[in-house]
Symmetry: C2
Subunit: 699 residues, 2 copies
């Protein structure tokens, strides 16, 4: 995906001329508030064209009867009209050569099929005219760094801080909550709320922010992705630019999926797939709004940098212990303070202070002027310490105020990142001091540690390469298990030695050739749950058992209206191994996605499966294998040799390449026996993608 | 455990006479601040006896040269002396007939073995004299409901709110943070910080609070349990009294364990065992200080009541969707609004409002006076709705202030619990309104849902009964696998049919009697890792295979210096089944604990194990089985019949009864084959508890 796939949004975000359709003077109306926000509460010095057929002037500005009456094309037309007037207005805007239309109006895709059809019409207007549409059902956008808003929000005038955070949302309320972190010195520079995304999507806005030099970190509050692959392309662009993306995704439960659908018509997609693809693309995922704000603020302050060595520094022993405990529980590392640091602390600090990490200097450290500052300065310069975590459990008045002053004094030149946590609900002077100095403290110790864990994760993350494989084409026709396994063997994967037979006699011959024990599997077109249907017999030790199994299978199948005409006789795989699964499907949001997890009954019982967007390379495949919860089962374990992870990775890379090729709708290899000397596919289902002609025929 | 095991703490918590050893006028000294807190900042109207051999008067009060100089015994002596003077002072206090001694001084158990020995001396003074000791290394206690503090905290004078929360901590800083939630109207009535617990422990304080009618909920911030079984007894008393206990436990990671040890000398114990025992005893566990505060405040407001039907009500669609999503992700239930509720909302609310749950009325609901209040009132009276979750994403000025007013107006008579969440950092008038009205809003949506989940969990929890089983005594001598299995069979458990043999010939005879396939296991004293040592052969199909296995085992064992003199020949268990494990050990903190989880290699690979304090009954055993992550593997699954859970539960109840009996040090049944028709113990290790004589002989 290259830049030309993404539109240049500069005319939208920094327009020189704006028409407001439905401009009005009615108090608290969208048409009035939007105009006032632009005319009175912003630094906008371009032209404003109120469009209202019933008025000469609106809020003192000359009004126009229609878009066609304007002196020339405008950069942006803001549509503040009732739902039934929107499409007509968009056609007028397009005809007038408008660059971008912003549609606030709701009542489209979020209301059902009819509304979705109207949005399709909007998209078609955009496609044909080249005018891009932002919305509908959008609360607009605020380019706070330029003090310019295309929004009806009555509190826009309060948005004055600005900063390096680019915020992308679909709705308004949660974004507004983020904006209000300005009180803590956390400044959003550009906020775009894309609504129902009939045309422009979050992907377009993210891509713009990647190229915006004022934006240092991108915060995403997503209900769903209108165009998953383009979003991933924007995420890859962010990764290439070294710009962190922190995302919160609504729609992890059925309730959330249904609610987002009725809010911004968003298709939520699978939460597990989304999370895995975020990881694949270096997107830092958070779970709540407060986490989004704090984590984004941290990235704005620090950028992308691995900072692994954490020193906990407090004047409360219990708090220091709790913080250390949380660092450990999160799998993070307490730095081992250098002997010089410890000796320095020991020389300075009260005798009963703890000068190992976690450092607990007790409140006595504040009985002497500058003592706390000197001690903190030592820790901040400790060679093994990248981050000093500074939990302040409670407001102790002068003590905690002084503690905050010390942090502010040392922070600018501190080699280690100073990370304060203000745990008390008391917002004392010290709290304000930290916020004013750009050290906006965390308010929850656990969330501070979680944010730090995410910072470290992103610092360690790097994009992995993609393999390109030349894979053989598939033969025509439906692929039953035998054909599917032949295809897999062609691809270089290992399947059990086996033969297709049409009678018990042939089965016996085949088994003798292969060697007992064998497995017998009926090949019956359209039969899905083979095991439940009695169409699989395993562990057949000799010809007698095989013949008996054939007979039983005939009886069982005929009782279900099937006939046993073809079957697969396979070598029974034995020896050490763990059952895993590997799959490929076309995700409705993100396109081709490869899955990997524990196999057999464990897939359903433990849901221990991870995902990646295809294609990807071997490193990514190994990362997939490493991230399942049951990774340890792949060994080595209790003296048992480990599974051949390289062979598993190769298998996943082949699936990924197939996914990118596009001729497979779904592929389910389950179980795959992961043994010490390779991975053997024991069962396989392959469904082709419908070709274009077939696809049309089905409609 | 009965009440007489717990001391009456009323003289400690509401003393009529207090001696202060080390009373002083030196500014900011412990001896001065403690005296001033008692004399000037509290409602204490009893007698204060400063004890200081060097002074006539301290802060205007007559001072005494020693405890022996006092006119009579005092309820409490507060020890503000250097560490080396403490034990002598305690002896003096005891000799003077003091009821309770409070020791602030630190520098004991938290510093190492020597300090721990001094604490043992203190405990002995308490035991011999009957004077109970609180501390050392304690910041004291604050009986805020009585405006009385035995503490040197310079901010004690600010602790004026009081309330129904009993707070138990070991250190000071984190408790202080909790106290400062008073700003939000969250009132701690009694705060005890027990320090190193040389004598009195958290269990004593918890038990007192159970009986204190002013305390409605007990908040526990524990670093470790000095006396686990007594703590559990206090928790059982709280459950009987219907008083909720909410606990946060530090020490989940190695860092935390080490840090708490050096802070209050606490033995942290296993986090997994602690959490499981909390669940068993109805203790609500939280993960962070802010969660502790919010969850405790919720219980104080609501008490223990199952409130399952949740309605999300917001004026922001994205926020409503996020809240609904979180409710679903937490496994909680959105109430299905009654037709009357929906029709009522539809009639009142703006046309594009969402009147299904989640309810999103949009900010338009505030354009008419009383409209929001009328709508909220409808939802609050909906028959299926127990809780209305009210997320307020941002400060919208008058809108959100009015929203808060509406909640406050409706809350007193609302059948449903109104649960506001103030997500913005802006602390607007509405935020203050909610706090002042006792509706202290959550500040994090996710944490609100988590707290609600815990409220519902506790509402559903009930104590389970305990089984008493008459179990046969064990035979004398060491129990090898064969003897252990004989013991288990005696207890009524199922073990594979098997015979002990001493030669290959006997093995063959035994196998013929049992029927092939068989398992051969060497019985070698002191050999632990049998599989790795080649001392186990499974799946032996015939005599030839058995003889070969015997030969190979002889060779393998003799290469390791062992001899194959005895072995166990067992029927090879086949058919469907899942490997689980069951165990019994004596936990260093809590005593006999039974464990259950997935077995075989899965124990190590997935750590999917849960625990219970012994003894317990069948309901608790079934709850254990239900709470492992891999529960679904026990089926039914994919048409495979489920495991016989009743048999597993019986097995666990037998282990629990054995644990209570006390003659087993450790018992490890792993794997146990859980099949559809019973549970078969495939391998067993039983270690006896050392008898008292043996135990002493080992020392």
């Amino acid at each position: 995906m290259v830049a030309r796939d993404f539109p240049d949004l500069s005319r939208l975000l920094s327009p020189r001329s704006v028409a407001i359709l439905g401009a009005s003077e009615r108090p608290r109306s969208v048409g009035s508030d939007t105009l006032l926000n632009l005319a009175e509460h912003s630094d906008f010095d371009g032209q404003i064209f109120p469009v209202n057929p019933g008025r000469e002037r609106v809020h003192g500005l000359r009004a126009y009867s229609a878009m066609s009456a304007l002196p020339g094309p405008v950069d942006v037309a803001v549509v503040c009209l009732p739902a039934d007037a929107v499409v007509g207005a968009l056609r007028d805007c397009a005809a007038a050569g408008t660059g971008f239309a912003v549609v606030f109006t709701s009542g489209f895709g979020e209301t059902g099929d009819e509304g979705r059809a109207v949005e399709a019409e909007m998209a078609e207007i955009a496609r044909q005219s080249g005018m891009r549409i932002y919305g509908p059902n959008s609360p607009g956008l605020s380019n706070i760094n330029r003090r310019l808003g295309l929004t009806f929000s009555p509190v826009f005038k309060n948005d004055t801080l600005g900063g390096g955070i680019g915020l992308v949302t679909q709705g308004g309320g949660l974004g507004r909550a983020f904006i209000q972190a300005s009180e803590r010195g956390i400044g959003v520079g550009l906020w775009c709320s894309t609504g129902n995304e009939a045309d422009l999507t979050m992907a377009d806005v993210v891509y713009h922010m990647v190229g915006d030099p004022d934006i240092k970190v991108i915060a995403l509050l997503a209900e769903g992705f209108r165009d998953g692959p383009r979003f991933l392309a924007a995420a890859r662009a962010a990764a290439r630019a070294g710009k962190p993306v922190v995302a919160m995704k609504v729609g992890k439960s059925d309730y959330g999926v249904a609610a987002t659908r009725s809010h911004t018509a968003a298709l939520a997609g699978s939460a597990a797939v989304t999370s895995a693809l975020f990881r694949q693309h270096g997107i830092v995922e958070v779970e709540d709004l407060d986490e989004l704000i704090d984590t984004v603020a941290l990235f704005e302050r620090v950028g992308i940098a691995p900072r692994r060595g954490i020193c906990v520094y407090s004047f409360s022993g219990g708090t220091a212990a709790l913080a250390a405990d949380m660092v450990g529980s999160a799998g993070l590392i307490l730095s081992e303070l250098a002997p010089g640091t410890r000796a320095g602390l020991r020389a300075l600090a009260p005798s009963y202070a703890a000068v190992d990490n976690p450092v607990d200097l007790t409140t006595q450290v504040f009985t002497q002027d500058k003592l706390n500052r000197d001690c903190l300065s030592l820790v901040a310069r400790d060679p093994a310490t990248d981050v000093v975590l500074l939990p302040i459990p409670a407001d102790y008045g002068p003590i905690t105020d002084r503690s905050a002053d010390d942090m502010v004094a040392l922070a600018p030149d501190s080699p280690a990142l100073l990370l304060p946590v203000w745990m008390s609900g008391h917002r004392a002077a010290g709290y304000a001091t930290l916020n004013a100095a750009g050290l906006a403290p965390f308010r929850s110790l656990g969330k501070a540690v979680t944010a730090l864990k995410r910072l470290i994760w992103r610092g360690d993350w790097s994009p992995s390469g993609t393999s390109t494989l030349a894979l053989p084409a598939f033969p025509p026709g439906e692929l039953d298990e035998a054909a599917a396994k032949a295809v897999l063997a062609d691809l270089g994967l290992t399947v059990p030695e086996g033969r297709v037979v049409t009678s018990a006699r042939q089965a016996g011959e085949a088994a003798r050739g292969i060697g007992f024990p064998v497995v017998l599997k009926a090949l019956v077109p359209g039969l899905l749950h083979k095991t439940e249907a009695g169409a699989v017999a395993v562990g057949l030790m000799d010809e007698q058992a095989l013949a008996a199994a054939w007979g039983a299978m005939m009886t069982s199948l005929s009782a279900q209206g099937h006939r046993l005409e073809r079957a697969l006789v396979e070598r029974m795989e034995q020896g050490p191994g763990v059952e895993v699964m590997a799959g490929l499907h076309r995700d409705p949001v993100f396109g081709p996605v490869v899955s990997f997890g524990l196999g057999g009954v464990m897939v359903e019982a433990l849901s221990d499966v991870t995902h990646r967007a295809a294609p990807f390379g071997r490193d990514e495949a190994l990362a997939m294998i490493d991230e399942i919860r049951g990774r340890a089962l792949l060994g080595p374990l209790r003296g048992r040799p480990g599974a051949d992870l390289g062979a598993l990775a190769d298998l996943l890379v082949i699936l990924a390449a197939l996914g990118a090729r596009g001729d497979i709708a779904e592929m389910d290899l389950n179980p795959v026996r992961a043994g010490p000397a390779g991975a053997t596919v024991l069962d396989a289902v392959i469904l082709r993608a419908p070709t274009e002609i077939e696809g049309k025929a089905r409609q």
